[in-house]
Symmetry: C2
Subunit: 155 residues, 2 copies
């Protein structure tokens, strides 16, 4: 399966929005992400429901941040995009009758759950403000690089 990029995309958008004057339309965001406005609306809907962004219709409408980046963690956004399955590897059967398979599933589950716990725990400790700070540092090192130029996005 091709992997799920919703989390990555939403982080990307949210940080840009933080540096963006006024509302950003789905179309503008879609251009930045190299995707479609409908995909943007679909994915952002989850963030809106949790209050991380708000949307407005009509002239001057679009998307705005619902709270500062310092109050959003990777875990928050991961949950807002629907908590997609973390792992691409898993058991062949969820409720096997075979005791061997049960033992195999138990061994794998234990390892996967431990790894997922670590991952989400780490997600919970990183705020989007942390990532924005890292962006600033990269910006300072590479002042010539400008992304999404002409699309209405700084940097």
């Amino acid at each position: 399966m091709r992997h799920d990029s919703r989390l990555s995309r939403m982080l990307h958008v949210l940080i840009h929005m933080d540096r963006h004057e006024g509302a950003a339309t789905s179309e503008t965001i879609a251009a930045m992400l190299n995707t479609n406005p409908v995909v943007v609306r679909r994915t952002m809907a989850g963030l809106r429901q949790k209050g991380y962004v708000s949307s407005e219709k009509g002239h001057g409408g679009g998307w705005r941040l619902g709270r500062p980046l310092s109050e959003m963690t990777l875990l928050d956004i991961y949950e807002a995009v629907g908590e997609p399955a973390v792992f691409a590897v898993g058991p062949a059967c969820d409720q096997p009758a075979c005791l061997v398979e049960q033992a195999v599933n138990a061994a794998l589950s234990e390892a996967f759950e431990e790894a997922e716990k670590l991952l989400l725990s780490r997600f919970g400790k990183v705020t989007l403000a942390d990532i924005a700070r890292d962006f600033d540092a990269r910006m300072a090192r590479h002042p010539a690089l400008v992304a999404h130029a002409g699309a209405g996005w700084h940097a």
Copy 2:
């Protein structure tokens, strides 16, 4: 994406093979896994290449263990099935020009790599003999349960 079940299936098969007299044919194994003999051959090919199993053609042929379960770890089998991608979540772009996206990817990669490291490290510490022991314990607790009966498999 539907997740990859090759690791799980191979662990299941290997433990059964350990308790199985003689060689097991692809067809027998396929029946046990509720799949197709060709899928079995395809997946087992990776294990054969690493020496974890051997195969023989003709009458009385089939698959045999190439070494004791105590000398195979989950990591070994994971590698033998081709080290499939562990995570179903990932970046939207691998080499982004945008510095924001680079910062996002860096934050995510760090977390994912740490989790993968933990997972594989744990895989490396669990042998198939450990799982077989757990199976024996489950067997002792549920003596009535019999799996794959009639397909030539014990238990």
